[in-house]
Amino acid sequence: MQQPFIAILIILLTIAAYLAMVKVYQRFTYPILIPVLTTTVIVILGLLAFHISYSDYMVGGKWINALLGPAVVALAYPLYNQRHIIMKYSFPIIGGVFAGLFTGMISGLLFAEVFGIKRDLILSILPKSITTPVAIQIAAGLGGVPSMTVVFVMIAGFSGVILGPRIMKWVRIRSHLGKGIAFGSASHALGTSKAFEYGELTVSMSSVSMTLCALLGSVFGPVVVWIFQV
């Protein structure tokens, strides 16, 4: 009797917080106010304030989470609408994804090495630019800690979404094509959700790059580990 009531309450409160944060973001478009980040902060503060555990939150949260799968499937629609332009630019897409994947993995390894991070943590950071479900499997396959990988994947997502546009301005990435490929391959699905602010072409470039990055990452993750003798 009580369980469904709590679940519905959690769902409604999360949606209400999200919609309010969308309004805030429309009013003040600072990158740090991106709704997915502000709403996450509100949820965490709410859980801490009322001493609710994460597993209790997930009684309702799992229903929202269940929509993530069909939403990823829905990315096929903009992808289909933009199919001709994707085929036309397949070379820059593949090249960009490769560049981003290797830059991300190798720089991650170097930083971890400099800071003297333990091996299992290094292996957990490696797939950070890849969408969560695939990153978990890559980390597990390499001998990392999958639950830690989830956190690194989120940090990669948030940092790309919040400061990515500024980096793009610095290195003069001006095209929707370049921005989309960069968002998708460095910041996976979170980057793709940010790409919606730039239009359908950017979204499609981002979702195709995200998918390609996941495929190539699962193949080349072990190769990078082998080359660098982690």
Binding site: Y18, P35, T40, A71, A99, V134, I167, H176
Partner: protein, 125 residues
Amino acid sequence: MKIFVITIQIGILYLFHMLGVWISESLHLFIPGSVVGMILLFIALSTGKFKSKWVSSGSTFMLAYLPLFFIPVTAGIIKYPEFFTVKGLLLIASTAVSTFLAVAATGWSSERLVSKKKASVNALD
């Protein structure tokens, strides 16, 4: 009426998702079910037999709320208080800097690869 169409179409998307999960699990693929579902829907649309208007409203709706569906996962960071220590912050900073490098490298090289290929103007606006 609109809400009815959207609901049915989300149902269709969900079926593709379930099919994707089933394929991914039974073939032990390293690609997650949702991505397999996306590829399946894309193939279905490409055949021309499966009309894009059958999923257009549902997809547009789902994608408009995409960030909302991440929140339960992202709130899971609460389980790792060790990220809020000095070493944790160092790891967060390294991950962020590494991501910035990836953004720069990706965007830069893809734009270079386009301009070599006598690009049409519209994609580079």
